[in-house]
Subunit: 196 residues, 2 copies
């Protein structure tokens, strides 16, 4: 396997662009080469096969969509209450909206995982890791509610992100006076997270 890390990162990012723009079936080594503007045949020197490319895309998306440690540290200075949970959820929405391409690629990975057992296994492990980490973070920070709170909030956020990034018009104006996504997030947290 070729080892230039910058080129590998550029190829993986090109793969993410292809996934979001054309869907999983469009993700070929040739399309990745074209997207990264490198000679045909380059991607095949960096990935052992399509499953390897998909796994590296998952790893890269995990980094691209992760919280900024400074933003997180700043947010965590606030009292450990519902308002802080709302602020943390808004930060997630800001990140996935800013990197919409990355999140759409993650949705394509999910659907591709229904067809590819190796991807299903690696993606399940990485997303379960995120959920477990979320529960640990919530507990360690002393935020209100336990694991059940985090699980229900995780599902509502997943639904909100899916709807907002693919068909924003479904939610816009559905609740008069509640703006999307910020007002809706506040409402979700108020329902799901105990007051203290």
């Amino acid at each position: 396997m070729a080892g230039n890390p910058e080129r590998r990162a550029a190829l993986v990012d090109a793969g993410i662009e292809v996934l979001a723009r054309e869907g999983a079936r469009g993700l070929t080594f040739r399309a990745v080469d074209a997207g990264a503007a490198v000679p045909v045949g380059t991607a095949s020197n960096y990935f052992t096969g399509r499953d390897d490319l998909l796994r590296q895309i998952d790893v890269r998306l995990h980094t691209r969509l992760a919280p900024d440690p400074e933003v997180l540290a700043e947010l965590m200075r606030a009292p450990k209450d519902r308002a802080l949970v709302t602020a943390l959820m808004r930060d997630i929405l800001r990140r996935v909206t800013r990197d919409r391409t990355g999140y759409l690629a993650l949705l394509e990975l999910r659907l591709e995982a229904t067809r590819r057992p190796a991807l299903r296994e690696s993606l399940t492990a990485s997303l379960r890791g995120d959920l477990d980490e979320g529960m640990e973070f919530h507990r360690a920070a002393g935020l209100p509610g336990g694991d059940e709170t985090v699980a229900v909030l995780y599902l509502a956020m997943l639904g909100l992100i899916l709807e907002h990034l693919t068909l924003p018009g479904v939610l816009d104006g559905a609740l008069p006076g509640v703006d999307v996504p910020d007002g809706l997030v506040e409402l979700m947290v108020a329902r799901i997270v105990p007051a203290s």
Copy 2:
């Protein structure tokens, strides 16, 4: 346009299979013809173009995933409380699990809608219609909670269905003693829907 309704339905159902199995990019008239085992060129006599096929798939999925009126009538004999909301949500999960292919095709339509304005418009209208209907149904039936309850529950159900149909292992065992999806649905409803 050719007018044999059985053949049209068979072509649309074949399109749904192709969407779920191969993704949106695999959905060509040729693949639909092959899936429906009809001569090459048949689909082009039934659909004015790819947007028309996608729109007819959306309409058909709406019917395939709709509640069975008898099941619904039977459920609605119960007292109008949280337990009934839980039973209604479980019925949704039963339907999407039974027609997993149909729901995966709907997820493919969502992602394809990010690339095709005509599909985005028609799919937004049909899903917004479902949300509005859900609110009206909840209100008319005298179920606990108002439109905000229905909106938050809609999002949590959307997240649960997405996770459960694409990567069930993420949720399995995440909350010890809570089975997926039934126990998780009960938990969601208890959090989101007021007691009365």
